[in-house]
Point group: C2
Amino acid sequence: MKTPTLQDFTAQRRPIVAADGVIYLLDQTRLPHAVEILAVRDGDAAAHAIRSMQIRGAPLIGAVAAFGLALYLQKNAGAAALSAAFATLAETRPTAINLLWALRRMQAAVEALPEAQRAARAWAEAQAILAEDIAQNVSIGGHGLAALREHARADRPLQVMTHCNAGWLATGGEGTAISPIYAAQAAGVPIHVWVSETRPRNQGLLTEWELRQAGIPHTFVADNAAGLLLRQGMIDAVIVGADRIAANGDVANKIGTYLKALACADNGVPFYVAAPGSTFDFACPDGNAIPIEERAGSEVRSVAGATGDACLLPDAVAVSNYGFDVTPARLVAGIVTERGLLPASVNGLRQAFPEAARAAQEC
Amino acid sequence: MKTPTLQDFTAQRRPIVAADGVIYLLDQTRLPHAVEILAVRDGDAAAHAIRSMQIRGAPLIGAVAAFGLALYLQKNAGAAALSAAFATLAETRPTAINLLWALRRMQAAVEALPEAQRAARAWAEAQAILAEDIAQNVSIGGHGLAALREHARADRPLQVMTHCNAGWLATGGEGTAISPIYAAQAAGVPIHVWVSETRPRNQGLLTEWELRQAGIPHTFVADNAAGLLLRQGMIDAVIVGADRIAANGDVANKIGTYLKALACADNGVPFYVAAPGSTFDFACPDGNAIPIEERAGSEVRSVAGATGDACLLPDAVAVSNYGFDVTPARLVAGIVTERGLLPASVNGLRQAFPEAARAAQEC
């Protein structure tokens, strides 16, 4: 097929177009300032796209890893090559469990097959993972909107805050945390979104761009503003995505999420997490067992000026740059999944995803 | 006198040099990237310096306002001119109460005097305010270090986090929240400081610059990182300055402070506030009565890129930019003042500053 245009992505809200053995991606290190479309034709390019955050967002990382494995197998589908491809892709990012989930599913789909059939089967499985994620996004949107609507006040649009980007740029389709917001728009529910900048990588810019494309009213704020806005009653609910959810309901998500959850608890505002089943890690008993990615210090050393300029702190300045934090389950009002709104508890998650809970026990 | 050099400011840790009817200031909108020394020769220039944040920090705002009033009176010391100068300076920034405190003290010092004596008396009073603030900074350093040391672990340097800049750039002398850190260095107490960026104005850069000048070990982090670092036990205490403290101990300080206080409470880490008596507002019963400054949206629209570049969000993007938030007294382990460590409570504050509490009641 021809290289898709920006319109091919935005019109359908799809961050990935996969056809004829090639995957096309919007380069998210360039958005929203510039549009660059990547044609990924081999496994190494897919691994690079994940590692360098050309694409990010736990469900999208999973889907691109699946296609990456399929692309590796197009070159060499032997047992050793399969293991090597799995290992290369698994090491690209440590926190989002969807990555391992997708790779394990891909491996299970192909390892019993004759070598000659593996590549085609892998491509089909990756397409299935993507299609299922898109369908799950839609379900999450419906369940999430039902949860959020309960907190709307009669005198104003529903006021929702989010952190990072968990929209269509982060998933196969409509997003996780943002899917209920698209669902609200589709249902004619008045809504206004508070978009948190999300330093140091500024993924709030991606959310701002998505909402601007969709014509959904929103306000962009510094991460520091969440506490005051919640205390002043300006926010009815907070909803975020997740990179990994432990068996007890503890949630790893973008650094800064935990602070928002604390401010919600202190002000009686519900804090929701939206994620598909592929984000659950029943092998992790709680948040302490979730590995937290540490990223390059240059992200933190790059600081905005007051007037659109910027500076780089000298390399000699020590920085710390963890990409994620863990929000304890006790702060989570509910987890919005494709199977409905779940309590953030061991029993709540196990009852809704018994097959995944069982599989983790058998490991 | 000759215009002072950078060395004249840094060697003594003084953000203001006042002599011969001129005040010299380090332009803090340029630091740390560039050094520009402002010579302020009239009241309008002083008002502009406060309004435009060429200088900031509640105690320093108070001192510069005092000199600003003296400079206005050098031109015209009549009753109408005094009122006009007071009003102009009082309107420059709304949240830091030290501004009003200093102006009221200046007015009380001169209003009963014959016109011809007012300017000289005003200059002397401003010098007294500055000198007292410097002495109070030193006291705060001693009391603050005593409080912080209690939380040190034997196996590592004392780990202290701060927010915004409450060092010598924010006061007359050693600072408020940073003064105990300078005191630790002077006393040979091993210490390491976690410096929070403080979007959107990035005053964490000023703190980073101060600590670098002083050779005090520190690590610069995104504001979002505070929750994870506290949860991982990497921080022994948090200490910040204040722009206004209500009669009940609620604290207005730089936006994002409240989030850090919440994360401290959730992890059993003490959260201290350091401020001189001039920051107390006994006329404010609680934090809800403190006016919160809303600043230009351009500060939030200016976003850092990943590699030292930056972007400006289009003006059409709605932003919200409150400069401060309020931390409830229940989250404050203690308030470090020149009169010692106080509990953040009505009785604690009144007992330590009875004359200020009485004066407010008489208003």
